[in-house]
């Protein structure tokens, strides 16, 4: 029991820190609310899908930006997609980078775009690591016989 409450407190703190540092926002909470007994892995599925999507988009954008003549329209459409996906799951930081990225695309600023792309990569890696720790904690709680506390 002690282990369980400890784990639960750890989870709550970790999640709060993620919110504080802006990795995730309210939309992520909404997503968590959708998870229940009928779809226990809902959040993990959506998040994995997002990461796959993000990687694909980043690769595509890198290819386009490497060319001699950059097709900014294409980059813009990819950024738009990424922005949409990140807002849907509440990945706040990535979404913010996307907003800046879009401005650079419209200004046809290749250097700016490349910098943003790097930032996206960086945020992506960080968020992935954080969420994986989150899921591991959740799994430990469930294994210890408890239930994941519903977030407010």
């Amino acid at each position: 029991m002690d282990v369980l409450s400890q784990l639960q407190r750890q989870l709550a703190d970790f999640l709060a820190s993620l919110y504080r540092e802006g990795f995730v926002d309210d939309q992520f909470t909404q997503l968590q609310k959708l998870q229940d007994e009928s779809s226990p892995d809902f959040v993990m599925e959506v998040v994995s899908l997002f990461f796959e999507d993000c990687e694909k988009l980043v690769n595509n954008m890198a290819k386009v930006l490497e060319q001699q003549v950059v097709d900014f329209k294409q980059v813009d459409s990819h950024v738009h997609q990424l922005k949409g996906s990140s807002s849907s799951i509440g990945a706040a930081r990535i979404r913010n980078v996307c907003i800046a990225f879009k401005t650079f695309c419209e200004g046809q600023n290749r250097e700016g775009c490349l910098r943003c792309l790097q930032q996206v990569n960086h945020e992506h890696a960080q968020l992935k690591a954080n969420l994986q720790s989150l899921f591991t904690l959740e799994r430990q709680i469930v294994a210890a016989g408890g239930s994941v506390p519903a977030m407010q």
Binding site: Q30, L49, D53, S87, I89
Partner: protein, 669 residues
Amino acid sequence: MESCNCIEPQWPAEELLMKYQYISDFFIALAYFSIPLELIYFVKKSAVFPYRWVLVQFGAFIVLCGATHLISLWTFSMHSRTVAVVMTTAKVLTAAVSCATALMLVHIIPDLLSVKTRELFLKNKAAELDREMGLIRTQEETGRHVRMLTHEIRSTLDRHTILKTTLVELGRTLALEECALWMPTRTGLELQLSYTLRQQNPVGYTVPIQLPVINQVFSSNHALKISPNSPVARLRPLSGKYMPGEVVAVRVPLLHLSNFQINDWPELSTRRYALMVLMLPSDSARQWHVHELELVEVVADQETELTPEQRLMVETILKSSNLLATLINDVLDLSKLEDGSLRLDLGSFNLHTVFREVLNLIKPITSVKKLPITLNLAPDLPVYAIGDEKRLMQTILNVVGNAVKFSKEGSISITAFVAKSESLRDSRAPDFFPVLSDNHFYLRVQVKDAGQGINPQDIPKLFTKFVHNQTLATRNSSGSGLGLAICKRFVNLMEGHFWIESEGLGKGCMAIFIVKLGIPEKTSESKNPFLPKANHGQTAFPGLKVLVLDENGVSRMATKGLLVQLGCDVTTVSSRDECLHVVSQDHKVVCIDVCMPDGFEAAARLHEKFTKNHERPLIVALTGNTDKVTKENCMRIGIDGVILKPFSVDKMRSVLSDLLEHRVLFEAM
């Protein structure tokens, strides 16, 4: 000869010269003798040589020359008179023949030269004929292609298939580099690139419709050559080395498919055109040929506006095919009923409206037949109920329709009331055990007519599939005999009972059915008394069929999860075409992400597809923008509700309940 004492050189000078002359003469003779031999040999080999006597003459000339040179070999040293005589003879003869040959050549050489000219002339003619034959063959093939293309175009009424086929086939026939179609947008102010041959997904390029080049093309029904640099022709990124091929544009008149019913689209009166642009391969010297242009004009003109008679015919065809489709659906329903896979489409609806609509539908026929028809709804009949509205209406309509069909005179009355316990039990149905409960009631409907009536013994057969009642005038029966069987099944599904009473032929008959309907619970908000008890979000809309259209996989999944949480039955699609393909009347709500390029188009197409308001699913737009343009577009396209992304469960729930309520209120009027 006395020899002198001076030293003589080995080869005295004249002797050397003489020696050389000797040798040369010998070789000349040799050559001169061998030339005729060669000539004879090769002429014998060749098939045609018209001037044989020339050969003889020339041979003689050569031989004599040779002989002369040969004989001169003997004249270097002292020779006798015979040799001199022979030499002279030979020389004389040679002179004669040479002159003769020279004179003859004057005639021969022009002839020979003219042969060459004639040969060249014939070669040119042959080449020209070859070219002409090639052209004729191409024309014939193109004619064949046009016939096939026309056949293919006319085999489908789907505009998109027609246009796509047109592009593909034209591209193939004329070996085009690129073929594109620009369709007018909803506003009519711009042309949007809708289809291209080579590119898979044309991003929505638009050009304003008022460009001079577009006006020029639209004002004539010919295919006109346009500059490859004009905006409608710049479909591919031009790199420096390409010399673009010639470009031709032609107008394609558009058929107003939605012209059959009064619609609130304002552009009905103006003739609308699409622009088809065709490009020849670049870097080739190919030019547009006149017959190719004619072909393009013919093909583009396939979709012409209909004359009023044609429109009437098309309308009739549409209506009868609709009817046919309904009939087929009936049979399909029945087979679903048979194997128990049909499920009722439960929802809340206005019961009074159902009866009134049935009455409205049947009124025209009853007034023609001069049969008074009355509807009596009991005062305690609930206004709203929960059940399968469509099938209940179908049942009532079928029963009333039968009453009208088999009555030549007399009045028809429809009565509906809530069945209490006495009227529930019927001795004819021993296995019908109605169970009364708080949230259900039994609706009893009686349709009485004074028509032909039925022999009581025939009553059980009425509900058999495909069986017509033989005693009735068969000339009247145009149905397939399925109606009553299906209705009985529906009633059974609604946990009810259906029977017919008749006192005999000529004494009219009464059809009665009882069905179980749910009572919508009254909540504290009197505004929506027909929604079931809201369980604070969990299953607010049980079984509500929703279709979600979103290109973004992550958003799609999030939206689906949210709707599933509300208890909906969610289907997801990722493209506009898929959406139109999958959507059906069962879907009550369609959520579309209007930030994707096809979003508004999809909504517009949905409007086109479902022309009656009560069949159309509610359209909810999901958008990240709240700017005026988006709002205006939504209102114009006819979107029922808008939700701002990112959205929460509560937000979605409130929007859906507002929408569903709004629709029901609308029908109550």
